[in-house]
């Protein structure tokens, strides 16, 4: 009888589940939970007395007679309430996902409901409360918020909420507040999980719901925490202090002291015609004016910084933070077109969000020795874990950690120059790989190089640059950035060359591509100047962008290399595992970097090179690719979601290890993942696998068999 009760055919319904979800995987009726299983009547859903009564019913009876019988029994002893609860049951039956469910299952749901009346303004769900129930709005309206306090969704009659917390981690992820006086049906967690197991339609519904949330969480990345929701204009607390750029040093210093500001904007022109010309900060005054003992009549224009990096007032604080981290500036003029709205300082952001990694960054610049830097580097991991717990996305975490790495490097270079004296010729210190891509995590080694001015003469100047490179490299190693095993560091003479030599390197790699050589130089195609004459690095980026897109052989060779690392997905959508030394023979794992994020960023790099893009960050590269017709929008979105998802699982895995006092790594055991994560990882790996097939086809790349 129970088989009959739960067979979907009984109601003659087909699964309307061919819809294409804009998320990670398309949903087909033949999922993991194939069809309906007969419900266990002795489960929690039925009272024991009910179970024994149902047990007595023979198999050939129809649903109708079972319900009649249930009603009949309720006459004698109470218990089975579906006949009397018809109003509640019918309301559920009119709304998704219950309208797709066998009636008998809805009856059982009905009997577990707890009804709550809540006045407008009641906080129904608070963030991090344990998730105990699925909520169904019988009447009224409820607002769902993001962690940041931003409105996420409005739930009305017949809609559900709260599934995300139940699925994910048993804690409320999206707080809920009652908008209008509401009658709410609370469906207990046990019922929810029972339905999730028993009813494929229900499972798909709540998962799809969450997939669209996942998608929106991924695509609206700028909005998941405070730094991402507030605009920079919020940080402007005072009128701009400015002066004509023609003032003298002493006058500038007086204005700054009187107004107690750390930066003075210098304007050209008068009134409405005034344009921002330059900036002078107290750091400039300290370093340049005082240490160089400039006369107080020195025109300020001689020491001010020009060609300013500014930020539009409409940008988010998060973007201001990235701009500061990326460019190593501590003050950003905020602009409305040509009009200066104000200046924000690093310290403003630090004050705004004291937990932020910027606090760490500003501390880095206060250190006067490698020893001090080493001490601070111990906080990097805490900062990382904190960002993970604050629900930052992988882009923000990757950028922040890359920014921290940059800051260590920059400070070490400053200390090095203090120790060794000023450089004999101009140079640019260049970050490579994940730091250049703004995708650094806590387990990372140093990949760097030096571009020297073309006036460089090895015999005369290289002693200095070798010393400086050693100082930085050793310092970075002290701070936890281990030496590069491939010796891609500025200490290696090969990677400490004048600009013309670098141009020759890149020209050779692109014009005469060889698979094996490219495998080793792959990392140079993620590059960014982080100190000194960063324009040198820009010249290299331009050269690569111009040359690469025209060399099909180069792209084919790069693509061939990118296909060496495949996602850990078997023929039947199972994970392909590897043994790794640490976890022992019986604990097989797969590597989320080697088989996930790395091959993804490899293939994104190739498309970006083909598009002639100068972007380095994978997400920004995807934006650039999206502007061409190379990949369809859907494909771009899928790649973006896949990268974000694998990256964030990898990040969480590392954060958990750190919190548990273990050394973080990239090797994940499937049993450590939630079913939700496992499923979506498979989806993400499938995206990678499909994208690799496309890459092979697009660039006509045959897989190199002997390269490993």
């Amino acid at each position: 009888m129970h088989d009959a009760l739960f067979l979907p055919d009984l109601k003659g319904r087909d699964f309307p589940r061919k819809m294409k979800i804009p998320g990670l995987r398309s949903v087909t009726p033949s999922g993991k939970r194939s069809g309906f299983k007969p419900a266990k009547v002795s489960g929690f859903m039925a009272a024991p007395s009910t179970a024994s009564r149902f047990g007595a019913i023979t198999h050939d009876q129809t649903v109708l007679s079972a319900i009649v019988l249930a009603k009949h029994y309720s006459i004698h002893s109470g218990g089975c309430m579906q006949a009397e609860l018809i109003d509640i049951r019918n309301h559920l039956l009119q709304h998704s996902p219950f309208n797709e469910m066998p009636e008998e299952l809805v009856n059982r749901v009905t009997e577990t409901i707890e009804i709550v009346y809540a006045r407008a303004g009641t906080e129904l769900l608070r963030i991090n409360d344990p998730s105990k129930a699925l909520y169904y709005v019988r009447s009224g309206a409820v607002e769902i918020f993001r962690r940041s306090g931003e409105l996420y969704n409005r739930i009305g009659e017949g809609e559900i909420f709260g599934a995300f917390g139940l699925l994910m981690n048993k804690h409320v992820r999206f707080p809920a507040t009652v908008l209008e006086d509401s009658l709410i049906y609370r469906i207990p967690a046990e019922t929810f999980h029972y339905l999730f197991e028993q009813d494929e339609g229900f499972a798909d519904y709540v998962e799809i719901e969450d997939r669209s949330r996942l998608r929106s969480a991924v695509s609206r990345r700028e909005k998941s925490n405070q730094l991402m929701t507030s605009r920079v204009s919020r940080l402007i607390s005072r009128k701009t202090v400015s002066a004509p750029y023609t003032v003298r040093l002493q006058e500038a210093a007086r204005i700054m002291t009187e107004n107690s500001v750390s930066a003075l904007l210098l304007m050209e022109g008068e009134g409405d015609q005034a344009r921002l010309k330059g900036i002078i900060t107290d750091r400039d005054l300290r370093i340049r004016a005082v240490t160089e003992a400039l006369p107080s009549e020195t025109p300020i224009s001689e020491i001010m910084t020009e060609g300013l990096i500014t930020i539009p007032a409409s940008h988010y604080i998060f973007e201001a933070m990235l701009t500061m981290l990326h460019n190593n500036v501590h003050h950003l003029p905020v602009m409305n077109d040509h009009e200066v709205r104000g200046v924000i300082a690093l310290s403003d952001i630090v004050k705004y969000e004291s937990q932020s990694s910027l606090y760490l960054v500003s501390n880095i610049y206060h250190q006067t020795s490698v020893k001090g830097l080493k001490k601070i580097s111990l906080e990097v991991r805490d900062s990382f874990v904190r960002m993970v717990n604050e629900d930052a996305n992988s882009h923000m975490i990757g950028s922040a950690l890359a920014g921290i790495g940059r800051s260590f490097t920059q400070r070490l270079l400053e200390l090095g120059e203090e120790k060794l004296g000023p450089p004999p010729v101009p140079y640019c210190f260049m970050a490579l790989g994940s730091m250049a891509r703004d995708e650094q995590l806590v387990v990372t080694d140093q990949d760097n190089a030096m571009i020297l001015d073309d006036s460089f003469v090895a015999e005369e100047h290289d002693v200095y640059f070798l010393e400086l490179a050693k100082f930085v490299s050793d310092g970075l190693a002290e701070c936890g950035y281990t030496y590069c095993t491939g010796d891609i560091m500025a200490t290696n003479e090969r990677w400490r060359q004048p600009l013309k030599a670098w141009k020759a390197y890149f020209s050779d790699w692109i014009d005469n591509p060889q698979a094996r050589a490219l495998l080793n130089s792959n990392i140079f195609f993620d590059l960014d100047g982080i100190y000194g004459e960063t324009d040198f690095a820009e010249q290299l980026k331009t050269l690569v962008a111009q040359k690469a897109s025209n060399s099909q052989r180069f792209l084919a060779m790069m693509a061939r290399n990118a296909l060496n690392r495949t996602p850990p997905l078997g023929f039947f959508r199972n994970f392909v595992m590897e043994e790794d030394g640490k976890h022992g023979k019986h604990d097989k794992t797969f590597n989320l970097k080697r088989r996930g994020t790395a091959p993804l960023s490899d293939l994104i790099r190739i498309h970006a090179l083909a598009c002639g893009s100068k972007a380095q960050n994978s997400f920004e590269r995807l934006d650039a690719i999206g502007k061409t017709r190379l990949i369809l929008d859907d494909g771009i979105g899928n790649l973006r979601d896949a990268l974000e998802f694998i990256a964030i699982v990898r990040i969480r895995h590392q954060a958990l290890a750190i919190e548990a006092g273990r050394e973080p790594d990239n090797n994940v055991r499937p049993q450590d993942l939630s079913p939700f994560e496992r499923n979506h990882l498979k989806d993400a790996f499938q995206v990678l696998s499909d994208a690799q097939k496309f890459l092979k086809y697009r660039y006509n790349a045959q897989i190199a068999r002997n390269v490993s």
């Binding site: 006459i75 218990g79 009397e84 109003d87 577990t112 707890e114 809540a118 006045r119």
Partner: protein, 245 residues
């Protein structure tokens, strides 16, 4: 049935009874084991805030309005607190009336003779019914049905009645709207009196309309109404004795 005419009924002066003491006295006085167990479960102290009071919404369908002339034909109840109403613990029974079913009440309740033929007598469900009420404060909409009907039914069957305090959502509405009958001027303007019926009272709180009228849905509707009334007009910290009758 029309309750409009009956919202100021001749109620017993139950409000000022020291209920916990009364329960203790009754525990000792009764010889019936069911009633002894019921009273022994006790009654909450008069100062208990409403948020701490375990309650049970209860509704009877009857063959008429007079406890002495008419019979109970169905009983619905649902235990609840201000935190929530537990449908998993809800109960519903049909019971066979002592007196014949009149045609009019059949149309109201949709319960037929055939339904009731196989129904048990109230005495058969009494252990479970009193078990559900024990230790909980009954909540009804219109206090002159459930309490007097149960009292009379028990006197008839056990030769002993029953006493308990209760909350009456209709009395609360009556209290909230003392001037609900239109003045001469207002009736001339065709203004209708404000209704304190269950369905109409619920509308004022934005509670949904329930199509079905059975004892259990009405009990649930009453429990929801009380939650709304307390949320809007009294607050969870109100001592229970402010409202019990």
């Amino acid at each position: 049935m029309s309750l409009e005419d009956m919202d100021t009924p001749p109620s017993q002066p139950f409000a000022n009874v020291p209920w916990p003491d009364r329960y203790q006295t009754l525990t000792e006085a009764t010889n019936n084991p069911l009633l002894k167990a019921f009273y022994q479960a006790g009654c909450c102290d008069a100062n208990t805030p409403l948020s701490q009071v375990p309650m049970v919404a209860i509704d009877f369908e009857t063959t008429g309005l007079s406890a002495t002339e008419h019979s109970i034909i169905s009983v619905g109840l649902v235990p609840f607190t201000l935190e929530g109403i537990q449908l998993s613990a809800a109960r519903h029974w049909l019971v066979k009336p002592k007196l014949a079913l009149r045609q009019t009440s059949v149309t109201i309740h949709g319960i037929t003779h055939a339904d009731l033929e196989q129904a048990p007598d109230l005495v058969d469900i009494l252990p479970e019914l009193l078990g559900c009420l024990a230790g909980r404060l009954p909540v009804v909409h219109y206090r002159d049905i459930e309490r007097p009907f149960l009292d009379v039914a028990l006197r008839y069957r056990l030769q002993e009645g029953i006493q308990f305090p209760l909350l009456d959502t209709m009395a609360i509405e009556a209290h909230l709207h003392p001037d609900r009958r239109p003045t001469f001027w207002q009736s001339w303007r065709d203004q209708k009196p404000l209704s304190i019926r269950l369905a109409d009272s619920r509308l004022r709180y934005g509670l949904p309309h329930y199509a079905a009228h059975n004892a259990l849905m009405d009990a649930i509707a009453t429990a929801e109404l009380l939650q709304a009334q307390i949320a809007h007009h009294f607050g969870e910290q109100t001592p229970v004795s402010d409202l019990w009758l």
